[in-house]
């Protein structure tokens, strides 16, 4: 069979060298009554060729249409260099850098990733990665509550519902009191937020641009922190920061994002990478790994995992988080993406998304009965109210090999436009809208 390095002959020689007559002597302390004496009810072993056929067929059963799907996962372009780099065994077959002398490549790249994301967000520090945005947000809330020592967390109604669901699971067994801030005109209602704030509130969670695509009044919200006892967590879209004001500029204490936009394939939802940045003040409570600069015995620059006393393998139940394996290879992709697009590219890609999203939204809202659910600005994504049922539109689009967007409810749809969408693709969608709505 595949992947065993020793033959049966080797195997028997080794048994003799160990000093046993047969394999069973090695496992004699496993009680007979609990042993599995059957064979697995799974298919027989395949060859590489055979398995390629099987998986080729499975892959073909999925449809890749022109996509206006978003809501946290986007069809951005991933430069060719990314795949060339992450296909190197030196990256994908290495383990967590517990022996820094033979992990300098990964450790330096972790440091670069931390720096790149910190610079993008204008935050002080960034960890080496979380799994994805949902659990990153949950961990951010746990950190914030433990820092502020206040149990009440206000979370905007306009935060991605998938992330909220993860947060609810994580805090189920804590005393955290999660209170939703309602919306007004497509964004968080700042007046109600103001009313909700009292001494018990230690955390405010806002997504900007929000799940429905619209831009929040971040400056007004940031003012409500009043004192340093109350923390602001901002969820952002990393591509948007090519143009938009940063969490650091707003004075966010913790900035969280789904890093998938940064060159990571959509992969049916994972693996992705959670971006987790904080102010200097919170660095000793940050979950996960951090790579820091140091020197070796000869004075040469090197990198090590640092502040490890926060982590579970040292602190056990007193650790700040249970995270161990993170999303290293996906962080590597995000780092390559930011380095490759660089100072001008990140602005350009953000502007392409902005321009195209507005082209599409303006054309669609020119159709009678179609309107934006908010009068406020948006970046690369927007929610439309339709004069017909969302399903009817989506089904017709699918017949034309287009994913028109994500269904929000029976007459609302969330449409995302990346730099990959061409004028022709957008015009096709516009035409389809007209046909379906005006017929």
């Amino acid at each position: 069979m595949a992947y065993l390095s020793n033959s049966e002959l080797d195997f028997n020689e080794m048994l003799s060298a160990i000093g046993v007559n047969n394999f069973n002597e090695l496992i004699k302390n496993i009680p007979e009554k609990i042993r599995f004496n059957d064979s697995f009810d799974i298919p027989e072993a395949e060859s590489e060729f055979g398995v390629s056929k099987i998986f080729g067929k499975l892959a073909e059963k999925n449809e890749n249409y022109v996509s206006f799907l978003g809501g946290g996962v986007y069809d951005h372009y991933s430069p060719a260099i990314i795949n060339a780099i992450i296909s190197r065994s030196e990256f994908y077959t290495s383990y967590t850098p517990y022996q820094p002398e033979v992990s300098q490549g990964n450790l330096q790249l972790m440091y670069e990733f931390q720096s790149l994301v910190s610079e993008l967000t204008q935050m002080d520090v960034t960890n080496a990665s979380m799994y994805e945005a949902g659990s990153a947000l949950a961990e951010a809330i746990l950190l914030s509550v433990s820092y502020s020592k206040r149990k009440k967390v206000l979370i905007s109604a306009q935060v991605n519902p998938n992330y909220k669901r993860v947060v609810e699971t994580y805090i189920e067994n804590t005393e955290i009191d999660l209170v939703e801030i309602p919306k007004k005109n497509g964004i968080t209602d700042v007046d109600i937020l103001n009313d909700l704030i009292d001494e018990s509130v230690g955390t405010i969670v806002i997504q900007h641009p929000n799940y429905f695509g619209f831009l929040e009044s971040m400056e007004n919200i940031a003012k409500l922190r009043e004192d340093k006892k109350r923390l602001l967590i901002q969820i952002y879209d990393p591509i948007s920061l090519g143009l938009l004001k940063t969490p650091g500029e707003f004075g966010a204490d913790i900035a969280i994002a789904e890093g998938q936009s940064l060159g990571i394939p959509q992969n049916f939802g994972g693996p992705f990478v959670g971006l987790f940045s904080t102010t200097q003040q919170l660095v000793r409570m940050i979950p996960g790994r951090l790579s820091g600069v140091t020197k070796d015995v000869n004075g040469k620059r090197g990198f090590v995992l640092t502040l490890q006393t926060r982590e579970q393998h040292i602190r056990r139940e007193k650790a700040t988080s249970n995270i161990c394996t993170n999303s290293g290879l996906m962080a590597l992709i995000a780092g390559i993406y930011l380095a490759t697009l660089g100072k001008t590219g990140i602005k350009e890609v953000a502007e392409l998304c902005l321009q195209k999203a507005h082209y599409l939204a303006e054309a669609l809202t020119g159709i009678e009965g179609v309107k934006l659910v908010s009068s406020l600005p948006y970046f690369k994504e927007f929610t439309l109210e339709l004069p017909i049922e969302t399903d009817i539109l989506m089904n017709r689009a699918r017949e034309n090999k287009i994913f028109a967007g994500l269904k929000i409810d029976q007459n609302k749809i969330l449409i995302a436009v990346t730099e990959k969408r061409t004028k022709e693709e957008m015009d096709n969608l516009i035409k389809l809208f007209k046909t379906v709505i005006l017929q």
Binding site: M14, F36, D41, L69, Y95, Q114, G134, E172, Q266, A339
Partner: protein, 484 residues
């Protein structure tokens, strides 16, 4: 020579990538969005041409030890070979370009794959229901423990204690705390297995369950598992298995048959998906009927030839990941399962056990054994004798680097002094094991002949021993913060 940081090779005006031209009429940004929303200055990201970026990453890559280069016997990490066909098939665009929100009718292949992977993992572990959602082992632990919590809540009782053996992985107590439990540590007995007398003493009415790794982190099979089950049953407490060591059990014994109620698996250990320099992983959680209705949603189900995402479990603990988990790793793991096939798994366990025992028998006269019991796919040596002669486990580990071998896990489990935990896996040849034994013996001999060389090791790595204390004291974790 230091490899410069990507920021240090950046020069104003250079470009690494050209984006598509705007194919619609350009408007001024101010017309689309008010300037109050815009950032004040551009992010100072690198400006490096593609060629230089490629060289930067290639030059850094070769500084990493990796499975494809040489031996990686890190105990409890199962650093087996990552088959290349896994990588090739998981990169098919029919998988990579799927959006998790696209209609189920258009992702039938992906759902079928997940369903079949679920069924295979259930068969291999002996459980009845499973979630593929957790992104890593530690998140799997959290899910498993939340299920345990929910089970007791559904019976209207408050159970607050989780029993954890002193040999457990560090994530176990951290996860138990995150799930809202208090941890009670159970000491190991003389043979390295759970001390049943101490266990009995710990068994109060508020115990929710026990977390065990079987075989334990010492590589020893918990042979009194039936007795432990009986004790847990006496108060209706549950048994959680940390599946990190599943490689040793394939086809020999199934955790579900052993009496466990819940297990997390690490697809990035036993099921050959690569570790990626620290992730991403995948930590499915399988359960028996007691816990089935509490699993995270969605679960992939099959009706006729149709696969769908089922969100209907009304007692669910919720979600732990935005979508369905790390799908691209599920593809790799399922390719592996199909390559290994029904009769192959037992062979994996047998070869991993023989490989570990072969090293153990080669080294047991030179190094002390942590516990002198039968061990399975991994075992723990103690460098206590070597320490007395001048070289600690850490020194031996650093010296191994000079021979191109990654050291074992050191100083874990905590119950063995100067621990060195060795797990060769089934994908290493006898010659490699012989080489490891020989090098370990040579280092031992050198303690008396050339101790300083060991204490100063490593000598041949890209950098020498690094100042970890200095790194924490003069914290520099962001190039730009240092600059300002």
């Amino acid at each position: 020579m230091d490899i410069k940081l990507i920021f240090e090779i950046s020069r104003e005006g250079r470009k690494g990538h050209v984006l598509p031209k705007l194919d619609i009429k350009q408007k001024s940004i101010n017309e689309l969005i008010s300037t109050t929303y815009l950032r004040n200055s551009s992010a100072d990201l690198p400006q490096v041409p593609e060629n230089e970026i490629m060289r930067h990453y290639v030059n850094l890559s070769v500084l990493n030890h990796n499975v494809d280069k040489s031996f990686y016997p890190l105990g409890s990490c199962t650093m087996k070979y990552n088959p290349k066909i896994n990588e090739q098939l998981s990169a098919l665009s029919g998988f990579t370009q799927l959006h998790p929100g696209q209609p189920e009718e258009t992702s039938q292949g992906a759902l079928q794959l997940m369903y079949e992977l679920q069924q295979s993992l259930l068969e291999i572990t002996g459980f009845s229901a499973i979630t593929l959602q957790p992104s890593a082992g530690a998140q799997g632990e959290l899910v498993g423990l939340l299920l345990v919590k929910k089970y007791h809540e559904s019976k209207n009782r408050k159970r607050t204690i989780i029993l954890v053996p002193d040999s457990a992985h560090g994530t176990n107590p951290a996860s138990a705390r995150l799930a809202g439990f208090t941890i009670r540590t159970i000491p190991s007995g003389l043979d390295g297995t759970v001390d049943l007398i101490k266990l009995k003493e710990s068994l109060t009415e508020d115990v929710a369950g026990i977390m065990l790794t079987n075989p334990s982190t010492l590589g020893i099979f918990e042979h009194q598992i039936a007795e432990i089950r009986e004790m847990m049953d006496s108060i209706d407490a549950l048994m959680y298995m940390d599946g990190a060591n599943m490689n040793a059990l394939f086809g020999i014994v199934r955790p579900g048959d052993m009496g466990f109620d819940v297990i997390h698996l690490n697809l990035h250990k036993s099921f050959s998906t690569p570790h990626g320099g620290g992730g991403p992983g995948s930590g499915p959680v399988a359960v028996n009927n007691k816990l089935k209705s509490f699993l995270p949603v969605p679960i992939v189900t099959k009706t006729g030839d149709n696969y769908s995402l089922d969100y209907s479990l009304n007692e669910t603990i919720g979600k732990v990941s935005g979508y369905f988990g790390n799908f691209a790793l599920m593809v790799r793991a399922y390719v592996y399962i199909r390559m290994i096939g029904k009769d192959g798994f037992r062979k994996i366990a047998e070869h991993s056990i023989v490989n570990a025992n072969y090293i153990k028998s080669g080294l047991k006269d030179t190094y002390e054994l942590g516990f002198d019991s039968n061990t399975m796919h991994e075992f723990v040596l103690s460098a206590e004798k070597q320490k007395m002669r001048g070289a600690k486990a850490l020194d031996i580990a650093k010296r191994l680097l000079d021979f191109g071998i990654h050291p074992p896990t050191v100083y874990f489990p905590l119950i063995v002094k100067e621990a060195m935990m060795i797990e060769p896996t089934e994908t290493e040849s006898k010659e490699m094991l012989d080489r490891f034994i020989e090098v370990m013996k040579e280092i031992d001999t050198d303690i008396d002949k050339n101790l300083q060389k060991i204490l100063d090791a490593p000598h041949t790595t890209p950098v020498g021993r690094l100042d970890e204390v200095g790194a924490a004291r003069n914290l520099d974790i962001n190039y730009f913060l240092k600059k300002s």
